[in-house]
Symmetry: C2
Subunit: 339 residues, 2 copies
């Protein structure tokens, strides 16, 4: 278990890097155009949820920064989750998934979501397979992409979705252009904020390609997570105000007492357009989120000016969102798939 206090690699390579031109693709789920197309249809298809109330895009809205702007989301059967839906843009640069890192691959995270009763709430893999086998257009696509006659499955659904999601990358943020040598790409305030971001300590965790630490294949292998305590320093007024200590984080998953309040370091890319903040979505504004982090992670009280500078810097991490052409969904011809 590596955290910012133990990871030896932070500056063994360039601390900050623009997003690469291509996503990081695992060898056990290679990309192909038909697979990505299938995954894109599935991503926008509410039939992946038991009631048809939600699609992946409901909570991970690609038109709105990749999340839903809510503190916590409400799934297919009206139950709310306990943690805030993160953006899905740039997740190919993550090594583990979920706030507690319990999913060691994007595919594993998706499989869990499909059967989670607060999310898509499908009763089991067989129900999902049966439903999609009855939608002729999907059956044809699954069989083509994965080899018929049994192409439709929970595993393959997750693979197709992951293949599409990995294509989602927001390059050319002002900060990326700044890193590539265009010193005019960010304002003087943002540049000062960048320095404060480093000297205050934020960059100890929020560094490299995704402003979230090591990426797959560089320092970390897929499935190895980069975590930090949150709060790191207990006892500030924020603990109660924002319910920061209610969630025991990774401890729920591995029962290791040292992992109470341990969370995966999240990306800061597009942070300005993905309020509210933190694992419980309790903080509504970016400036307050910066104040809370400084106090809970470093016992520092930033000045208003320092907060303003850092916020100006964080706004430069908003990249370009490539327009998505909405896929037509294969029809459930002449009948409803819902019970």
């Amino acid at each position: 278990m590596l955290t910012a206090n133990t990871v030896p690699v932070a500056y063994a390579f360039d601390a900050f890097k623009p997003l690469p031109l291509t996503p990081i693709i695992p060898t056990d789920n290679p990309q192909s155009a038909p697979k990505v197309d299938l995954g894109k249809q599935l991503f926008f298809d509410p039939r992946l949820s038991v009631t048809g109330a939600v699609s992946c895009n409901t909570c991970h809205n690609l038109m709105a920064g990749g999340d839903d702007g809510r503190a916590v989301s409400v799934g297919a059967v009206g139950k709310a989750g306990t943690r805030s839906a993160p953006t899905l843009w740039n997740v190919s640069y993550e090594t583990v998934y979920f706030w507690d890192g319990r999913a060691r691959s994007l595919e594993a995270a998706i499989r869990e979501h499909l059967l989670d009763q607060t999310v898509m709430a499908m009763p089991d893999a067989a129900s999902l397979t049966e439903r999609f086998n009855h939608i002729a257009g999907y059956k044809r696509e699954f069989d083509y992409v994965f080899g018929g006659p049994s192409g439709v499955s929970l595993d393959n659904t997750a693979k197709a979705l992951a293949a599409y999601i990995r294509t989602l990358s927001t390059r050319n943020s002002p900060f990326d252009r700044y890193l590539q040598g265009d010193k005019e790409a960010i304002s003087d305030t943002a540049e000062k904020g960048f320095q404060t971001f480093i000297t205050a300590g934020c960059a100890a965790c929020h560094f490299y390609v995704n402003m979230a630490g090591p990426v797959p294949g560089l320092a970390f292998k897929m499935g190895e997570g980069f975590y930090e305590l949150f709060p790191n320093w207990l006892g500030s007024k924020y603990d109660e105000q924002y319910h920061l200590t209610d969630d025991l984080g990774r401890y729920y998953y591995d029962k290791n007492p040292q992992h109470k309040h341990l969370f995966r370091v999240p990306t800061l890319r597009n942070i300005a357009v993905t309020a509210p903040y933190f694992h419980n979505g309790s903080v509504k504004t970016l400036d307050e989120a910066v104040r809370v982090m400084a106090r809970t992670q470093f016992q520092k009280n930033l000045t208003d000016r320092q907060v303003e500078d850092i916020v100006a810097f964080l706004k430069t991490l908003t990249g370009e969102f490539p327009p998505q052409l909405m896929p037509q969904l294969p029809p459930s011809t002449g009948q409803s798939v819902y019970k």
Copy 2:
């Protein structure tokens, strides 16, 4: 109040016509490209709902025939409606809106939906105006389209949405191509079904451009509705099986006892991809819907072969869905808009 029994116009013009090249636009809400663009963003933006749980597209899914495939939909605060969400494709050819025709324009229907507590559940027009005035990108667009500095309003939100929705038209269905002279565009079975559709009586209501009776400017003015009793003949087994008599239809709206069970005649365009069926979404398959209609409207029991033929014909009413490029939504920069 005109119904199929009293309308004098059914065959005073071509009974069936392909969708025209352009939608029908009311004079009090002319189209413009910036207005349509704004309406498109709003259509996909869950911030139109009080909790951010749903956008227009959630229940009127343009990627899936224009509806959500559910019997009834669940709105922003988890409450279900009582009537099934209809497709929004081709609604510019309707003269009244909602199953009971209580909205005399598309704009009126949208205004009602925004404040309806089972739909978008915004508390009032002022809350909506305040929210969107705080999203800089939207304020700029509203002011540009409608004239600032007070461009954001409930009325203008409805106007922009209506402008976008009126662009949604599914031309070139096999039946439309058949009507235009391509006799090979539909199968012999479908052609037989078309004849049965007429002789059985379906075409008494389901005729003309939208397979739903008169259109704005032709026989009917905007705000005049074309209604029919459903069930027309009470007492079949279907009344109980599909709860057909529970909903008193237009009577709820105008308290006219003669209007019990009176409903607006719905379009049949894209009917094969918009299951389940009827105002309460109680019938899951198209063939059963055809059987129910024949029995409840004409006291006819169709043979399996007749049903099959009619279903084959109805499938030819599925048009082409023009691909929609997903709009990027103006960000709520650095803060969440939800309470």
